[in-house]
């Protein structure tokens, strides 16, 4: 391997390792928090929606978590990545290195959290009298890849724009919250009245999240949904890389 590539890879592994380990470095439970967080989240939602609001949906906890975990990867990554450039000013101004690694490593670190929570879904499947599907082995990596590039494209654009326009961070957080309820994470698509469904159909995240839920719960996906998500990923990457490259030239003047 070319020495420069080797170095970039080392840097990427270093940043990612830092993302994963440093988060819990000074806490007593440490890495266990990565597992505890999704479990506790699951519990809260179970109590709120199953016990209090009594949603009459079959296997609701599994139904919801199979979409919530991938969603969390998306939203946590985006809201963290937005600070990737503005939060590393001394590094960016004093050392030359591929800046997009800062974004990539946050997303990869968050992906590890998702991977850790997949066994929780498997346990739930057993609880509901089903079992994990063999097809996970190839469908999940495909979904991971597609989602990775959607997040990367969006995050590169937002991280860069936030350096020039710091309101971006607040706009993003509001938008993420709105998008969460505009995506069928907590509720099934079928529950939305016919006339409003067009809004969900226009949201690219719908197709991706639906695919996650399908594969976790049934072991199958609608490949049209996956394709739409993949096209979204390509568009996000093109736009994100373009914005990142163009705005990078004057980055030092605004940081």
């Amino acid at each position: 391997m070319d020495r420069n590539m080797r170095r970039t890879l080392d840097l990427f592994l270093m940043f990612t390792g830092r993302e994963i380990t440093l988060k819990y470095k000074r806490s007593y439970l440490g890495f266990i928090w990565s597992l505890m967080n999704p479990i506790l989240t699951a519990l809260v939602f179970f109590v709120a929606f199953k016990l209090f609001m009594r949603f009459e949906i079959e296997d609701y906890t599994l139904f919801m978590l199979s979409a919530l975990f991938p969603w969390t990867w998306f939203s946590a990554s985006v809201s963290m990545c937005i600070h990737s450039l503005t939060g590393n000013i001394s590094l960016i101004k004093k050392i030359i290195f591929p800046k997009r690694l800062l974004v990539v490593s946050v997303i990869t670190g968050q992906m590890v959290t998702l991977l850790i929570s997949i066994p929780i879904l498997a346990v739930l499947l057993y609880y509901y009298g089903k079992s994990p599907y063999l097809s996970w082995l190839y469908i999940i990596p495909i979904l991971l890849t597609v989602q990775f590039f959607i997040i990367l494209g969006i995050s590169m654009a937002l991280a860069m724009l936030n350096a020039y326009f710091r309101d971006m961070e607040h706009i993003t957080n509001v938008t993420l919250n709105m998008l969460f309820w505009m995506t069928p994470v907590m509720y099934p698509l079928a529950m939305v009245p016919e006339k409003y469904r067009i809004f969900l159909a226009m949201n690219p995240m719908t197709y991706l999240i639906q695919s996650w839920r399908d594969v976790i719960m049934t072991g199958r996906v609608n490949w049209v949904n996956v394709l739409i998500a993949a096209v979204t990923a390509a568009v996000c990457m093109l736009l994100g890389s373009f914005i990142f490259a163009v705005k990078d030239k004057k980055l030092d003047e605004v940081l």
Binding site: R7, D10, K25, S90, L91, K94, I95, I96, D252
Partner: protein, 244 residues
Amino acid sequence: MITAENVWKSYPVNRDKPGFKEFIVNAPEFIGKKSGLFWALKGLNFSVKKGECLGVIGKNGAGKSTLLSLLLGTSLPGKGTLTVNGKRTPLLELGAGFHQDMTGRENLVMNGILLGLTRKEALARQDAIIDFSGLSEFIDRPLRTYSGGMYMRLAFSVAVHTDPEILLIDEILSVGDEFFQKKSGDAITGLIKRGTTTVLVSHNMESIRNICSRVIWLEHGVIMADGIPGEVIGKYLNEGGKDV
């Protein structure tokens, strides 16, 4: 190794954008008004040969640090062309990228990679680096337990062990206590004497005179003089203070 042709660099004057309230109140003023530019460098022409040590002197705000950041590549010239061939090692802000919660050793490896080594090379050199820094007792403790001097010593030790081809230095010939100052000064002089191309920004005329083979005097983004150290320094000291 370094060639600058008519290099210009500007910064927006108003680096803090007006808030929404001011924008609304003074809307008529803002509309149609282009934000001003401050030209930190105005058409620099110079070159540095391999093995040469260039000193840059001038008053505060003359554009010296801007020049260094352009040479490093963390910012790009607004106009003109600047070519730099070779691996650039900054000794600008020591310890950029250090993380408080990682140990000295982890920071050492990470900084080594950031400054151009591979992980393998950084690991191979860690003993030499630790030895040079004199911090072997503390190296596996988190960086937040380090004193300011220890922090700088670690950062400096990493930087000089990364095979610099072009050294960019901003006033850091004194790191740590008396003894380490001598050691670090010697290390830099050693690197320069062995033919590492260097650009050194300093207000210490003594060290510029001793180390540099050529000196540039910058004032308001323009090169006022370029030549052998004795002459340029003399000119700067005579004429530089006039408009103060």
